[in-house]
């Protein structure tokens, strides 16, 4: 998987890529380094699980089309995240129209004993998704980028295209929603 050199693919910290000419990575390099991030990001941005693989492909096709135009003004990761946002938004809209229906409770299903870990992971994903689904797209993006992906707020504001203060406000509001949702879930768990 890794027969290509990895010279400049890693995301430089903000500002570290300003003066030098941008040595653009190949699509293969971008894929090797960021595919897992793209996948995870799409998931947390609400792309339905069955659609993630297609969406991941959409992201890399878009990267392929635009890579020549990448100017290094933001980190590569930030730039890719912007593409993920657009792809996820589009995919969510289509999924919603097509088939998605939220349910009030986590579906239960029989699992093999050997799949317990996977099952638990799936339950955790479902729970997190349910919490994130409360948020509108703007708040969700800021929350995911900050709380899960660990980007600094300044970069997040660039990615989502809003002033820094607006990004802070969105994060604040998103946290309130998520914390309240988590408390509700906790209360339900204790009450049952």
């Amino acid at each position: 998987m890794d027969e290509h050199p990895r010279t400049s693919v890693g995301e430089p910290e903000s500002g570290a890529h300003s003066m030098m000419a941008v040595a653009r990575p190949t699509l293969r390099q971008v894929f090797d380094e960021h595919a897992a991030f793209v996948w995870r990001t799409l998931r947390h941005l609400g792309v339905p699980e069955p659609d993630i693989e297609d969406s991941c492909q959409d992201v890399f096709v878009a990267i392929h089309r635009k890579l020549d135009g990448f100017e290094g003004r933001s980190s590569l990761k930030t730039w890719i995240y912007g593409i993920c946002l657009r792809v996820a938004s589009d995919r969510r809209r289509r999924a919603h129209v097509r088939r998605e229906r939220l349910v009030a409770e986590l579906p239960s299903r029989a699992v093999e004993p050997t799949q317990v870990d996977d099952y638990e992971r799936g339950q955790a994903r479902a729970l997190l998704s349910a919490l994130l689904d409360q948020l509108d797209d703007d708040k969700r993006a800021v929350f995911v980028l900050y709380e899960i992906e660990g980007l600094p707020m300044k970069e997040i504001a660039e990615v989502v295209g809003c002033p820094l203060q607006t990004a802070y406000s969105r994060l604040h509001a998103a946290r309130k929603w998520v914390l309240a949702g988590a408390q509700r879930v906790r209360g339900q768990g204790q009450g049952s």
Binding site: C56, Q57, V61, Q115, A124, L128
Partner: protein, 249 residues
């Protein structure tokens, strides 16, 4: 990082369950086979390997029957689409490597169509009903040429009948004809426009049309199209190509 607030995972504001959820989410990466399948779909774009010989060639066999069924067919379309774009931007050589739509990767083709489990862990990750398998079936069962995504019409049972995606293959033919028979290229482009007015490759269609018109000496039409293109797709990656085509004439 300056004035950024403490993250929920690092502070005490959030209950422990939520902190655990967020921490787990950071570690929640796709499986190797999932990534390999995507790599396989992207095959030629990732460095010229033919479809089926890329990293994912052997990956789909372990899990992913759903992905095998959908992916195998979506593959042709999407890679085809990407390749048209690649051919236009990068000079067209990629098409040679990708005629390859035709023989999709063996593991995808041989994956058991009815196998239920997607590659991802079993739970219903997004509280989506119906589950993944039926959603995939639903998607596969979409009737053929829909304008926006004509490339995904195939069902798992179609694998033997037609693998070349109509939208991509039309433009592939048009692109191939550009140098030797621009009249034909233009006709194919118009056929594409008729069948897929809002196709995924609309930009690429216009780029071919502009070049065909230029080659035919119909420069004012080419310039008009180029101008329309810039208006319609102001951020297109093909803009410089379009500019060079009409200005170079």
């Amino acid at each position: 990082m300056s004035g950024d607030p403490t993250r929920l995972t690092d502070g005490s504001e959030a209950p422990e369950e939520l902190r655990n959820l967020l921490s787990a989410a950071r570690e929640d990466v796709p499986t190797e086979s999932q990534l390999k399948r995507v790599a396989t779909r992207l095959g030629p774009l990732l460095g010229g390997a033919a479809i089926g010989t890329a990293a994912g060639a052997g990956a789909a066999s372990t899990s992913g029957a759903t992905a095998g069924a959908t992916g195998g067919m979506a593959l042709g379309v999407k890679v085809g689409a990407a390749l048209v774009a690649a051919g236009l931007v990068g000079g067209g050589a990629i098409w040679v490597a990708t005629r390859g739509n035709a023989p999709p990767p063996a593991p995808l083709r041989s994956a058991p169509v009815a196998a239920p489990a997607p590659a991802t862990p079993p739970a219903a990750h997004r509280l989506v009903v119906p589950p993944a398998a039926s959603a995939a079936v639903e998607q596969q069962a979409k009737p053929a040429p829909q304008p926006s995504k004509p490339a995904r019409p195939a069902t798992a049972g179609d694998s033997a009948k037609k693998v070349a995606p109509p939208e991509a293959s039309l433009l592939h033919s048009a692109q191939s004809a550009l140098k030797t028979d621009p009249h034909r290229a233009l006709a194919l482009v118009e056929e594409h426009r008729r069948l897929y007015p809002h196709g995924a490759l609309s930009q690429e269609r216009e780029v071919i049309a502009i070049e065909a018109l230029t080659r035919l000496g119909r420069t004012s039409e080419a310039q008009k199209k180029a101008s329309d293109f810039k208006q319609r797709y102001p951020d297109s990656a093909h803009e410089s190509k379009v500019g060079a085509t009409v200005e170079g004439n």
